[in-house]
Subunit: 213 residues, 2 copies
DNA sequence: GTCTATACTTCGATAGAC
DNA sequence: GTCTATCGAAGTATAGAC
């Protein structure tokens, strides 16, 4: 990842700090001072390298989205059967969110934001994620392994629960702490298992044969 | 809805304006000036009636959450079979979001926010929504109509796609405008149909019988 | 209860030395 | 390339007249 280049290293430090700040406070709530402080770099450096808060935000979103899209394409290039591929797509989403804990919250926030602060290039990077996902589903449908569900619909039904369940971890903790939840919610791995099963059933093309329970 | 009471009417005007502002800009991005302007009331009045931006936000969240939870309980009290009840739960969510367009975005943002700005009372109101939903699923499981899926898991798998798909409408428009989407995404009604079908399959307890295609 | 004017604070951004 | 000091804008909140 080119960590030998000091310029790259500085960008990474800024990205990590910015990701944490934007995820937990949102674009408007994020403070440039806090990002610089967390990155252990002077604030003026941030402006020197990125120009503005907005451009830093865009760079973060672009980098992250392109990374996610690339990982999904990797899964799509494997020789797995479509059903297994969907399992791996879900696992990959979760894996990415484990590596980059900020990902779900930033994603949800940007959706709610409706694309304000974004330029065309960043928008394109964002769109690469549903595109990569849709390609996988479309091939499964074409091969007859999946029901003819619109790929973009499958994308939202798969990705949204994952993003929301992961982003909701803090508020679940709050609810649990205040004794406002009747039962302990399953951990992420269990949730992923349920989601995989749900999508297998949702996309299953031969209801009378071989539903895995 | 007590529209005859002028005090109630004023609160409603504030709520409507605040909802729009919080949904499109987030808590930190929301501007008290804009809320007052949109409500066609002086800003000082807002502070007179609600005390602060934060308390206005909490009041909005409480009112909305309690309304949603009440609507879900209504569905739960009907004499429908569990499968039909789930269809109606999904339809009800969508209906509420049609009446109150701000609902999905505010919900997603608050999840990402992790419960900051919230007091115990508002947190409890928020928790009432998954509680009401879970009660419905739990009864379906107890009656043998549903597979033994943890109700809270079913909640996230059902609610998240709806919230995200609705909240993502603006960014889908942006993507479409920039020609960054290969196909036109289904409208909300079609999406709801797919989600209902997905949840029927996900909760179906007898895979060999009566799957509706 | 309602409005005007303003106090006080915080934030994004930059100028300018090194 | 890096840091300090600071500016100007914009924000929440309130004091005080009516």
């Amino acid at each position: 990842m080119l960590w030998h280049d000091p310029r790259r290293c500085l960008r990474s430090a800024f990205f990590a700090a910015a990701a944490h700040e934007f995820a937990s406070r949102g674009y408007a709530g994020a403070r440039v001072d806090r990002i610089a402080q967390r990155a252990r770099v002077n604030k003026a450096m941030l402006y020197y390298h990125f120009g503005s808060k907005r451009q830093l935000y865009r760079a973060l979103l672009r980098t992250t989205s392109l990374h996610v899209a690339a990982r999904l394409r990797e899964v799509g290039e494997s020789s797995d059967r479509p059903e297994q591929m969907m399992d791996r797509v879900i696992a990959t989403f979760a894996e990415i969110a484990r590596e980059r804990a900020f990902f779900p919250a930033v994603m949800l926030r940007e959706i709610a934001e409706g694309g304000a602060h974004l330029d065309r290039e960043t928008l394109a990077a964002l769109g690469a994620v549903p595109m990569a996902f849709s390609a996988i589903v479309a091939r499964g449908v074409a091969a007859g392994a999946f029901r003819p569900v619109p790929p973009i619909v499958a994308y939202f039904i798969t990705m949204a629960p994952l993003m929301v369940y992961m982003a909701a971890a803090p508020i679940r903790r709050e609810l649990a702490k205040s004794r406002l939840l009747p039962v302990v919610p399953p951990d992420l791995d269990a949730f992923i298992g349920h989601l995989q099963q749900t999508m297998r059933r949702a996309l299953e093309n031969e209801p009378s044969l071989g539903i895995t329970t």
